[in-house]
């Protein structure tokens, strides 16, 4: 079994929460991902079994949503929005600075700096980055130096 007892219990609780049990599938996958940092085939299958849907139904979701990962990844994901409002306020420059400042950690595989065309709703505080679940906004020169220093210790 790849899911923890705690996660299995949380998924069963979700199944009982909704009018139809399949609604619990997406939240179940997010809980399963929190266990190992990504969704292995086994974890996807177990989540599907707990919700009571075919494994393929769970895999379909796992492969669709950008916040779900079906491969192991770095411990820290830094996602920089480079969509138009952020691009107009220096997002590409921020990406260059992050790559340059975090090179050792990136080469070690500890950090990944990803440029995305997706908007995160922080256009008024651009440029910005999502680090794990947290938003880091208004990343001017001073703040990005502090951020790079903080992340370089990962």
């Amino acid at each position: 079994m790849s899911l923890s007892e705690q996660t299995r219990a949380a998924i069963l609780k979700l199944v009982a929460t909704y009018p139809e049990r399949r609604t619990a599938l997406l939240p179940a996958l997010k809980l399963a991902q929190a266990d190992a940092g990504y969704l292995s085939r086994e974890a996807i299958a177990e989540a599907a079994d707990l919700v009571g849907v075919p494994h393929s139904a769970a895999l379909e979701l796992a492969e669709f949503y950008t916040m779900l990962h079906t491969e192991p990844g770095p411990s820290t994901r830094v996602v920089v929005c480079a969509q138009l409002p952020c691009a107009l306020r220096g997002a590409e420059d921020l990406i260059r600075d992050l790559h340059a400042g975090l090179r050792p950690a990136i080469e070690k595989g500890a950090i990944e700096v990803e440029r995305t065309s997706e908007c995160f709703g922080a256009c008024h505080r651009a440029p910005m980055a999502r680090i794990g679940d947290a938003y880091r906004e208004n990343l001017d020169q001073e703040r990005r130096r502090a951020l790079i220093q903080e992340l370089a210790q990962v």
Binding site: L26, A57, M67, Q83, L84, A87, R89, G121
Partner: protein, 429 residues
Amino acid sequence: MSVAVEYAPVLLTHPGRTTPVSLDEYQAEDGYAGWRKAVTKMTPDQVVEEVKASGLRGRGGAGFPTGNKWGFIPKAPGAKYVAVNADESEPGTFKDRELMEVEPHRVLEGVALCCYAIGAETAFIYIRGEYVEAANRLEAAIGEAEAANILGQGCLGTQVNVRILVFRGAGAYICGEETALLESLEGRRPMPRSRPPFPAVEGLYRRPTVINNVETLANVPAIIDRGSGWYNAIGVPPRNTGPKIFCLSGRVNRPGNYELPLGSVTIRELIDGYGQGVIGGKAVKGVLTAGVSAPILSGDKLDTKLDYDSIQAAGSMLGSASLIVLDEDTCIVRAATVMEEFFRHESCGKCTPCREGTSWLFKVMSRIEQGRGVPADLDLLLSLSGEISGKVLCALGDFATSPVVATVKQYRDEYQRHIDEGACPFDPW
């Protein structure tokens, strides 16, 4: 330059605040007065009629009259649902985020009123997965309201039950399309359904469902508490009533959310009077008013009033009122390529014209921007766009063509320069 409009905000009543307004604070400012009035003194039909009379139109983008949407729900007994579209993902849009993060109770009151009006006992707030903070605050606010017996079983001592569930997405723009949102809630791949049947007849779990945007519902408490007559005096009746949150971003000095009556300011007044002008005092080359999903308006349209009808008459859409300002130094081809990159990323893949077409549009746009375009590319872009628009199940396909079509038509000389000079004539980002 221009003087700010004299106006007391109705939705974001604490401008500049970043912490959530608590239940006590909200109630001290007449919060849940509309809810109390509805469940103790009004029938559900009276609530629907009041919202119809207010003229409120959907704030998510389409601008459909909210009261009419509620009126489509069949009266027959049986489960009905409210699905709140909090999947705010349109580039340039960050208003629902602030509403949920700072005014969670106003949103919940609006959701509860919608439930009561259509006879639903369960509402889902479908919030994009990245809005973790907003989702946490909504859940905390639901806890506060249930503990105070405002929401939950037997609300405020009546027979009314309202259960509001926060459902977190996992990263997909398409979930903002209402039928894709329903698919996502049902645990399926979020791909749009073909219509009919419409959600009012067969929505969530094949039951009648109202899907409304967060800002739309946040308008309802004041409409019920103070009446449609009061609401009608805000904005430009009969088709453009009420307050609207304008999200201002891009090349302006002070980007942010600005709540103003519909039709009370022009694009120029918003940029200069609220956004404190364009960075470096540059000229405006163009403004997007509905994020990246509607045609750009060129710099000579800045005196257009910001309401649904005026923006439409000028050749675009007000949409979610997400204004992205491009200055004279911005390369239009590059800006349009970045917008197209978004649609290529977000196309769900269900309809072939959109899945393949957005990818081709992006490839052709990229080669022009990089100086590898050929003269035939401009007509190719237009013909490709014609093969997507109107030939797919949802609006994403139409949205995806507007960055290309509108810029090729209005800024053709800039495209031509890229092709003639074999390079982008602007500074890199």
